[in-house]
Symmetry: C2
Subunit: 140 residues, 2 copies
Protein backbone atom coordinates (compact mmCIF):
# COMPACT_ATOMS: atom_id res chain seq x y z
CA UNK A 1 0.00 0.00 0.00
CA UNK A 2 1.26 3.47 -0.83
CA UNK A 3 -0.09 6.71 0.61
CA UNK A 4 -1.67 9.57 -1.40
CA UNK A 5 1.52 11.70 -1.28
CA UNK A 6 3.63 8.86 -2.67
CA UNK A 7 1.04 8.11 -5.36
CA UNK A 8 1.04 11.82 -6.30
CA UNK A 9 4.85 11.89 -6.56
CA UNK A 10 4.91 8.68 -8.60
CA UNK A 11 2.32 10.13 -10.95
CA UNK A 12 4.37 13.32 -11.40
CA UNK A 13 7.53 11.27 -12.09
CA UNK A 14 5.69 9.18 -14.68
CA UNK A 15 4.49 12.36 -16.38
CA UNK A 16 8.08 13.66 -16.57
CA UNK A 17 9.19 10.27 -17.89
CA UNK A 18 6.44 10.35 -20.54
CA UNK A 19 7.55 13.86 -21.55
CA UNK A 20 11.04 12.47 -22.19
CA UNK A 21 9.73 9.80 -24.59
CA UNK A 22 7.39 12.30 -26.25
CA UNK A 23 10.27 14.78 -26.79
CA UNK A 24 12.35 11.96 -28.27
CA UNK A 25 9.55 10.73 -30.55
CA UNK A 26 8.69 14.23 -31.75
CA UNK A 27 12.35 15.25 -32.23
CA UNK A 28 11.68 18.16 -29.85
CA UNK A 29 15.11 19.37 -28.70
CA UNK A 30 13.67 22.38 -26.81
CA UNK A 31 11.45 20.19 -24.59
CA UNK A 32 14.32 17.73 -24.17
CA UNK A 33 16.58 20.57 -22.92
CA UNK A 34 13.80 21.77 -20.61
CA UNK A 35 13.45 18.31 -19.09
CA UNK A 36 17.04 17.96 -17.91
CA UNK A 37 18.17 19.38 -14.55
CA UNK A 38 19.82 22.81 -14.41
CA UNK A 39 21.46 22.66 -10.98
CA UNK A 40 21.94 18.94 -10.29
CA UNK A 41 24.77 17.09 -12.12
CA UNK A 42 23.60 15.14 -15.20
CA UNK A 43 24.90 12.11 -17.12
CA UNK A 44 23.79 9.78 -19.90
CA UNK A 45 24.72 6.37 -21.31
CA UNK A 46 23.23 5.82 -24.77
CA UNK A 47 23.00 2.19 -25.99
CA UNK A 48 26.53 0.86 -26.58
CA UNK A 49 28.09 4.28 -26.03
CA UNK A 50 30.55 5.67 -23.46
CA UNK A 51 29.43 7.65 -20.40
CA UNK A 52 28.55 11.31 -21.02
CA UNK A 53 28.90 13.65 -18.03
CA UNK A 54 27.62 17.24 -17.75
CA UNK A 55 24.71 19.16 -19.24
CA UNK A 56 26.65 20.34 -22.30
CA UNK A 57 27.77 16.84 -23.33
CA UNK A 58 24.38 15.26 -22.58
CA UNK A 59 22.23 17.87 -24.34
CA UNK A 60 24.69 17.98 -27.24
CA UNK A 61 24.18 14.24 -27.74
CA UNK A 62 20.39 14.65 -27.69
CA UNK A 63 20.51 17.49 -30.23
CA UNK A 64 22.58 15.24 -32.49
CA UNK A 65 20.17 12.29 -32.05
CA UNK A 66 17.02 14.38 -32.47
CA UNK A 67 18.16 16.12 -35.66
CA UNK A 68 19.02 12.81 -37.32
CA UNK A 69 16.89 12.33 -40.41
CA UNK A 70 15.75 8.89 -39.37
CA UNK A 71 13.89 10.03 -36.26
CA UNK A 72 11.55 7.41 -34.82
CA UNK A 73 8.87 7.02 -32.17
CA UNK A 74 10.20 5.52 -28.98
CA UNK A 75 7.70 3.81 -26.69
CA UNK A 76 8.13 3.28 -22.93
CA UNK A 77 6.61 0.05 -21.53
CA UNK A 78 6.10 -1.26 -17.99
CA UNK A 79 7.54 1.77 -16.18
CA UNK A 80 8.30 1.16 -12.48
CA UNK A 81 8.98 4.15 -10.19
CA UNK A 82 11.32 3.85 -7.19
CA UNK A 83 11.06 6.93 -4.94
CA UNK A 84 14.13 7.91 -2.90
CA UNK A 85 13.00 11.19 -1.32
CA UNK A 86 13.70 13.99 -3.80
CA UNK A 87 15.20 11.52 -6.29
CA UNK A 88 13.24 9.02 -8.38
CA UNK A 89 14.32 6.10 -10.54
CA UNK A 90 12.19 4.87 -13.43
CA UNK A 91 12.95 1.41 -14.80
CA UNK A 92 11.29 0.56 -18.10
CA UNK A 93 11.56 -1.04 -21.53
CA UNK A 94 11.91 0.89 -24.78
CA UNK A 95 10.70 -0.05 -28.23
CA UNK A 96 9.75 1.52 -31.52
CA UNK A 97 6.14 1.76 -32.73
CA UNK A 98 4.52 -1.68 -32.46
CA UNK A 99 7.76 -3.70 -32.27
CA UNK A 100 8.68 -5.65 -29.12
CA UNK A 101 10.85 -3.61 -26.72
CA UNK A 102 14.55 -4.05 -27.52
CA UNK A 103 16.09 -1.89 -24.77
CA UNK A 104 15.94 -1.75 -20.95
CA UNK A 105 16.31 1.71 -19.46
CA UNK A 106 17.08 3.47 -16.19
CA UNK A 107 15.88 7.07 -15.98
CA UNK A 108 16.75 9.15 -12.91
CA UNK A 109 14.90 12.34 -11.92
CA UNK A 110 15.40 14.94 -9.17
CA UNK A 111 12.88 17.34 -7.71
CA UNK A 112 14.28 20.73 -8.77
CA UNK A 113 12.31 23.96 -8.27
CA UNK A 114 9.16 21.87 -7.77
CA UNK A 115 9.56 19.93 -11.03
CA UNK A 116 10.89 16.42 -11.64
CA UNK A 117 13.86 16.91 -13.92
CA UNK A 118 16.09 14.28 -15.50
CA UNK A 119 19.63 13.74 -14.25
CA UNK A 120 20.45 10.42 -15.91
CA UNK A 121 19.37 8.14 -18.74
CA UNK A 122 20.94 4.74 -19.34
CA UNK A 123 19.60 2.43 -22.06
CA UNK A 124 21.01 -0.91 -23.14
CA UNK A 125 19.94 -3.82 -25.36
CA UNK A 126 17.77 -6.70 -24.18
CA UNK A 127 19.06 -10.15 -25.21
CA UNK A 128 15.45 -11.20 -25.85
CA UNK A 129 13.01 -8.48 -26.99
CA UNK A 130 9.95 -8.13 -24.76
CA UNK A 131 6.46 -8.03 -26.30
CA UNK A 132 4.54 -4.79 -25.94
CA UNK A 133 1.96 -5.04 -23.13
CA UNK A 134 -1.49 -5.04 -24.72
CA UNK A 135 -2.52 -1.96 -22.71
CA UNK A 136 0.53 0.24 -23.44
CA UNK A 137 0.06 3.44 -25.39
CA UNK A 138 2.65 4.78 -27.85
CA UNK A 139 3.85 7.09 -25.09
CA UNK A 140 2.71 6.11 -21.59
CA UNK B 1 35.86 23.02 -6.85
CA UNK B 2 34.16 20.77 -4.33
CA UNK B 3 34.04 21.32 -0.57
CA UNK B 4 35.45 18.96 2.07
CA UNK B 5 31.99 17.52 2.92
CA UNK B 6 31.29 16.70 -0.73
CA UNK B 7 34.74 15.18 -1.16
CA UNK B 8 34.14 13.06 1.96
CA UNK B 9 30.77 11.83 0.65
CA UNK B 10 32.23 11.07 -2.77
CA UNK B 11 35.03 9.10 -1.13
CA UNK B 12 32.51 7.10 0.93
CA UNK B 13 30.42 6.38 -2.17
CA UNK B 14 33.50 5.20 -4.07
CA UNK B 15 34.37 2.87 -1.17
CA UNK B 16 30.85 1.35 -1.28
CA UNK B 17 31.17 1.02 -5.07
CA UNK B 18 34.54 -0.70 -4.70
CA UNK B 19 32.99 -3.10 -2.14
CA UNK B 20 30.41 -4.08 -4.76
CA UNK B 21 33.08 -5.02 -7.32
CA UNK B 22 35.15 -6.78 -4.66
CA UNK B 23 32.12 -8.85 -3.52
CA UNK B 24 31.44 -9.75 -7.15
CA UNK B 25 35.05 -10.69 -7.88
CA UNK B 26 35.37 -12.75 -4.68
CA UNK B 27 31.98 -14.46 -5.13
CA UNK B 28 31.04 -13.10 -1.69
CA UNK B 29 27.22 -13.34 -1.49
CA UNK B 30 27.12 -12.28 2.19
CA UNK B 31 28.92 -8.98 1.52
CA UNK B 32 26.79 -8.48 -1.59
CA UNK B 33 23.61 -8.88 0.49
CA UNK B 34 25.03 -6.51 3.12
CA UNK B 35 25.70 -3.87 0.46
CA UNK B 36 22.13 -3.58 -0.80
CA UNK B 37 19.60 -1.29 0.92
CA UNK B 38 17.19 -2.74 3.48
CA UNK B 39 14.57 0.03 3.62
CA UNK B 40 14.83 1.78 0.25
CA UNK B 41 13.38 0.05 -2.84
CA UNK B 42 15.97 -1.79 -4.96
CA UNK B 43 16.22 -2.85 -8.61
CA UNK B 44 18.77 -4.30 -11.02
CA UNK B 45 19.27 -4.65 -14.77
CA UNK B 46 21.95 -7.23 -15.61
CA UNK B 47 23.47 -7.04 -19.12
CA UNK B 48 20.82 -8.04 -21.69
CA UNK B 49 18.36 -9.07 -18.98
CA UNK B 50 14.91 -7.83 -17.93
CA UNK B 51 14.38 -5.45 -15.01
CA UNK B 52 14.46 -7.02 -11.53
CA UNK B 53 12.53 -5.19 -8.81
CA UNK B 54 12.68 -5.85 -5.05
CA UNK B 55 15.35 -7.11 -2.67
CA UNK B 56 14.35 -10.77 -3.02
CA UNK B 57 14.57 -10.80 -6.83
CA UNK B 58 17.77 -8.74 -6.91
CA UNK B 59 19.68 -10.68 -4.23
CA UNK B 60 18.42 -13.97 -5.68
CA UNK B 61 19.99 -13.01 -9.02
CA UNK B 62 23.29 -12.18 -7.33
CA UNK B 63 23.35 -15.46 -5.42
CA UNK B 64 22.82 -17.26 -8.73
CA UNK B 65 25.58 -15.27 -10.46
CA UNK B 66 28.06 -15.58 -7.58
CA UNK B 67 27.70 -19.32 -7.18
CA UNK B 68 28.32 -19.92 -10.90
CA UNK B 69 31.45 -22.03 -11.35
CA UNK B 70 32.98 -19.62 -13.84
CA UNK B 71 33.31 -16.73 -11.38
CA UNK B 72 35.57 -13.95 -12.61
CA UNK B 73 37.18 -10.75 -11.39
CA UNK B 74 35.25 -7.67 -12.43
CA UNK B 75 37.16 -4.40 -12.55
CA UNK B 76 35.61 -0.92 -12.27
CA UNK B 77 37.32 1.82 -14.33
CA UNK B 78 36.89 5.60 -14.48
CA UNK B 79 34.20 5.87 -11.78
CA UNK B 80 32.40 9.24 -11.70
CA UNK B 81 30.24 10.13 -8.68
CA UNK B 82 27.17 12.37 -9.02
CA UNK B 83 25.85 13.42 -5.59
CA UNK B 84 22.12 14.18 -5.27
CA UNK B 85 21.80 14.77 -1.51
CA UNK B 86 21.29 11.40 0.17
CA UNK B 87 21.42 9.61 -3.18
CA UNK B 88 24.54 9.06 -5.29
CA UNK B 89 25.04 7.82 -8.83
CA UNK B 90 28.27 6.14 -9.91
CA UNK B 91 28.93 5.89 -13.64
CA UNK B 92 31.77 3.59 -14.64
CA UNK B 93 33.12 0.95 -17.03
CA UNK B 94 33.43 -2.73 -16.19
CA UNK B 95 35.94 -5.24 -17.48
CA UNK B 96 37.53 -8.53 -16.52
CA UNK B 97 41.16 -8.79 -15.35
CA UNK B 98 43.39 -6.99 -17.85
CA UNK B 99 40.91 -6.94 -20.75
CA UNK B 100 39.48 -3.64 -22.07
CA UNK B 101 36.19 -2.70 -20.38
CA UNK B 102 33.22 -4.20 -22.25
CA UNK B 103 30.35 -2.82 -20.14
CA UNK B 104 29.13 0.62 -19.03
CA UNK B 105 27.41 0.71 -15.65
CA UNK B 106 25.14 2.88 -13.53
CA UNK B 107 25.26 2.16 -9.80
CA UNK B 108 22.90 4.01 -7.46
CA UNK B 109 23.42 4.30 -3.71
CA UNK B 110 21.37 5.79 -0.86
CA UNK B 111 22.54 6.93 2.55
CA UNK B 112 20.79 4.47 4.88
CA UNK B 113 21.59 4.31 8.61
CA UNK B 114 24.78 6.28 7.91
CA UNK B 115 26.04 3.88 5.24
CA UNK B 116 25.92 4.18 1.45
CA UNK B 117 23.89 1.20 0.30
CA UNK B 118 23.09 0.09 -3.22
CA UNK B 119 19.59 0.53 -4.63
CA UNK B 120 20.24 -0.05 -8.33
CA UNK B 121 22.78 -1.58 -10.71
CA UNK B 122 22.42 -1.37 -14.49
CA UNK B 123 25.15 -2.71 -16.78
CA UNK B 124 25.08 -2.92 -20.55
CA UNK B 125 27.53 -3.68 -23.36
CA UNK B 126 29.83 -1.08 -24.95
CA UNK B 127 29.87 -1.18 -28.76
CA UNK B 128 33.62 -0.50 -28.63
CA UNK B 129 35.54 -1.84 -25.61
CA UNK B 130 37.44 0.85 -23.69
CA UNK B 131 41.10 0.28 -22.78
CA UNK B 132 41.92 -0.02 -19.11
CA UNK B 133 43.34 3.27 -17.76
CA UNK B 134 47.00 2.71 -16.96
CA UNK B 135 46.49 3.73 -13.33
CA UNK B 136 43.42 1.57 -12.55
CA UNK B 137 43.69 -1.11 -9.91
CA UNK B 138 41.89 -4.45 -10.16
CA UNK B 139 39.28 -3.00 -7.80
CA UNK B 140 39.35 0.77 -7.49
Amino acid sequence: MIGPEQAKSEGAVLLANASFYRAFSEGDAATMAELWARSAPVACIHPGAPVLVGREAVLGSWRQILRAEQAFSLRCDSATVQLLGGVALVLCYEGGETEPAHLAATNVFVLEEGAWRMVHHHAGPLSTPIARPSSSALVN
